[in-house]
Amino acid sequence: MNVDKELDARGLNCPLPILKTKKSLADMASGQILKVVSTDCGSVKDMQAFANQTGNPLVSQSEENGEYIFFMQKK
């Protein structure tokens, strides 16, 4: 996937991954892809909730070696 911006949210706990995702999206253009890497297992449900409520689609999410990787498209 073509990633336009990457956010390293490793080691951060609720609600920081969400707040930093919001900030990262702020200066991106519509349609661009943000990759977020988090180690907070709570962020799996929270990122889905963030996507549902803000309308920025969560294109994909996966887990790899205890890290959670999200691809979010700016609406």
Binding site: L12, P15, K22, D40, F50, Q53, T54
Partner: protein, 154 residues
């Protein structure tokens, strides 16, 4: 736009987090957020947050490294120690500091109102508080909360 209205009434470290976590997150989700700080919650608006502490006393659910009888919990210095240990643990676990969360709220246009009555009651000075806050009473909170989608008393 959805609206969330919170009342923050407590000034201990554990009770200081919910208003700032919910406030900053709701703002990130596009909510218009208003937090009304009254009684001990006013402490959360002071420039100096060092009065925000946690006590193991009368707090039996607080996880302790070793079991601690109540008469030990009340010894001088125990509150400071518990606060230091909790803050240290929060830092290790990547939990934001209160000052950081509060700043994130302000950056995201969360509105803070200090209860004027309690400011007078406790004889606080306006210079004790952070900038960018308003002072008001019950009517000003209700004006906003009246059509809020979420309203919580913390």
């Amino acid at each position: 736009m959805k609206k969330m209205a919170l009342i923050a009434t407590k000034g201990t470290l554990d009770m200081a987090y919910p208003p700032f976590i919910l406030g900053s997150t709701a703002a990130a989700l596009g909510y218009d957020v208003h937090i009304f700080f009254t009684f001990y919650g006013l402490t959360l608006l002071r420039k100096d947050l060092s009065d925000v502490k946690i006590s193991p006393l009368a707090n039996p659910a607080m996880p302790m490294p070793v079991p601690m009888p109540v008469f030990v919990q009340m010894l001088p210095g125990m509150e400071a120690m518990a606060t230091m240990m909790m803050k240290d643990k929060m830092k290790k676990k990547g939990v934001a500091s209160l000052a950081e969360l509060r700043a994130l709220c302000q950056e995201a246009d969360v509105k803070f109102t200090a209860c004027q009555m309690t400011v007078d009651l406790f004889e606080f000075e306006k210079s004790d508080f952070i900038d960018g806050i308003e002072y008001g009473g019950a009517a000003s909170f209700l004006e906003f909360a009246g059509d809020a989608d979420i309203c919580l008393f913390i």
